[in-house]
Amino acid sequence: MKASTLRWLIVSILIALWEILPRAGLIPELFLPPLSVTLIAGFADAGEYGQALLVTLYEVGLSMLFACGGGILLGAVIGSLPRPRVLIMPMVSSLYAVPLVILYPVFTVWLGIGPESKIAFASIYGFLPTMLATAAGIQTIDPQLLLAARSMGATLSQRLVRVILPAAIPTVLSGLRVGGALVIVGVVVSEMLISSAGIGYLISRYRTILDSPHVFAGVLLVLAMAVAFNAAIRWIERKCAIWQTGTRGAQAAADDISGAIQPAT
């Protein structure tokens, strides 16, 4: 059998099992409500979920702006200056080992339980990996391109706009993918912990009243959000493919980076 056929078979069997096992009573409905029940519960309260989705998307959007904007900018600066890079990068990657979730209570004390604390937390959560990925990717720019530009008398700003930025597009995109995924996680996690609105809050609230169909409807919604985000980045990557400098090394390096630094939890 072809591998992809078998894969789709596995996926459809899993989805079918999701429906069949709880219906047959092999798994208690509290643990896993049937798929149809989950979807019906979700659609029945579509208004509530829609409002929560708006809140979450607003927080995700703002945090993404901070995390990815700041991360890409600082990563590009640090990555292209050799001395700060040697000094700071190892420190940043040790900092990456810290489970950042523990910072969320600090933000709730400082900023309250509204959207501000979520935006602050998710920005920090997405910031470090984006910065690491960008700084690592900036170094993969072919030095010969820079040498050629410099020997033809390009000024610093020309080198930046004409050489470094186009060559850095794949890197920036992989930074964006990593950072964006983390920002979504950060927002949802913080909503689940302490909050008064958003999808994470809905999931937590329905969990406390043991209403599992509604919990799973929320989970599905977050999954859809993550998948949609991934697809959007893919689409942009394809659109920008012409900009890539065509070195397979750069692409492989960019893949490596996004593979090495991936969404935590």
């Binding site: 969320y104 689940m192 993550a226 593979g259 939890t265």
Partner: protein, 251 residues
Amino acid sequence: MSDRWTISLGRIAIVLALFALWETLSRFGVVNSRLLPSASDTFGTLADLLQRSSVRSDLAVTATEVLTAFALAVPFGGLIGFLIAENRYFADVVKPLLFFAFSIPKSIFLPMFILVFGVGFSQKVGFGFFSTIFIVIMSTATAVESVRVEYLTVARSYGATRAQTAWRVYLPSMLPVLLEALRISMIFNLTGVILAEMYASRDGIGHQIASWGENFQMKQLLAGVVMVAAIAIAFNEIIRWVETRCSHWRT
């Protein structure tokens, strides 16, 4: 050598400067010292907390959960990763599924673990396992794939037994990548367990930190954050140090 000294001195200077900034901001009332207690106060509280038996037992609970989840996830994930690297067909079937599972946020499944396991030890271990297993699978597969085919051919043509190939070829070439994998898995594992503790728990250091936050006990909260951060960084650095020790084996 002198270069390395300057670099480490520079790093120490940066860390000290950050702590000094923290201290002055709070001491001279630039920020409200009830919201940001000074660094010295925080470290004083930290020393005090470490004396308390309740905090120690919380640390022990968290450590047990983390180690159990790790001990379960590493062999299991390692086996699947090995299969993926060695069996082409299996890899073709499973890899895209794993990539998908890898890229979705795991934390939204936390409520499911509570519904299934209740609030307790197994819920945290389960969630820690779940958030670690995918990274273990991926990085073991990478580690096995990093073994050079030429070495295997040479070993086989000289008539090495299976055990010899495993011990003399696979292990030395995989070791640096494996250590890196262990380090990253541990980061994921620790994050998973602490998140699970913060979300719903009766004990553990994550639960303590969350409740200090809810009660606005800023000194204890910051001391807890510093404590967990220091433990995580220390573990990370130890593994990294072993990694550089082993790097002469890297092929």
